[in-house]
């Protein structure tokens, strides 16, 4: 079964450093998402992306965050200057369409630790 893949599985960085988290969505999917989950808390929406532009974003997704689809397969999340509170599991997801009834396919996540 096709799956969403994320790399790396773990990333440790120093506060203030830039990180790029990478994802390969399922190949025939058109919508891509980033979610995050702080330890012990709920999964939170960050951003959705369609047709090479952001279609929705949450309040969490401020100017420190950016997303890009640099080629036909990768989808990246960049955090420009990491803060301690950015430590979380970051999940990439994709779906065929963007409708309220559309199920999301999630990757296994990147655990980001900011020291």
């Amino acid at each position: 079964e096709p799956e969403v893949t994320q790399t790396p599985s773990h990333q440790v960085t120093q506060m203030g450093q830039e990180v790029i988290l990478r994802c390969v969505p399922i190949s025939n999917h058109l919508y891509f998402y980033w979610y995050r989950q702080i330890l012990g808390q709920k999964v939170e929406f960050l951003v959705s992306f369609y047709n090479n532009e952001i279609s929705e974003k949450s309040e969490i997704f401020d100017d420190q965050f950016s997303v890009e689809r640099p080629d036909g397969s990768n989808f990246t999340l960049k955090i420009r200057s990491t803060k301690l509170e950015d430590s979380a599991m970051y999940f990439c997801a994709s779906s065929v369409y963007r409708q309220m009834n559309e199920k999301l396919f999630f990757g296994s996540g990147t655990q980001l630790s900011v020291l």
């Binding site: 969403v4 709920k42 929406f45 949450s58 599991m89 997801a93 309220m100 009834n101 999301l104 996540g109």
Partner: protein
């Protein structure tokens, strides 16, 4: 403000019994509600979706109900097995600009 609440942080059930998990929401009018399973260190996995005009949906040992008057969904696992032990998340699309909104989840433990 909008809220999604799942009934308890942890639920212990004896193997073979039916596990019932609750999802309550306020200040939403969702057309759909979804349930996902999350194992430790893994991403959520889609299980079931139910529409507002559907009272009940089944898939193998899973059953979901949706009561838009009570603003509640119930998720049942019948003949539960230790392999069903996981965190179960309910999720709504609020229709705004916040994507799919998840509840905090219920950690289900099925004891042999």
């Amino acid at each position: 403000s909008q809220k999604i609440e799942q009934n308890s942080e942890a639920l212990n059930i004896q193997e073979g019994k039916t596990a019932t998990l609750t999802c309550n929401y306020t200040n939403y009018s969702p057309a759909y509600l979804q349930w996902y399973r999350q194992d430790p260190g893994r991403g959520p996995v889609f299980l079931l979706l139910i529409r507002e005009n559907e009272k009940e949906k089944r898939k193998e040992r899973l059953k979901v109900t949706f009561d838009t008057t009570l603003k509640q969904s119930l998720f049942h696992i019948t003949a539960s097995q230790p392999a069903d032990s996981a965190t179960y998340l309910c999720a709504l699309d609020g229709g705004g600009a916040d994507g799919l909104t998840f509840g905090k989840g219920t950690h289900l433990i099925i004891q042999p």
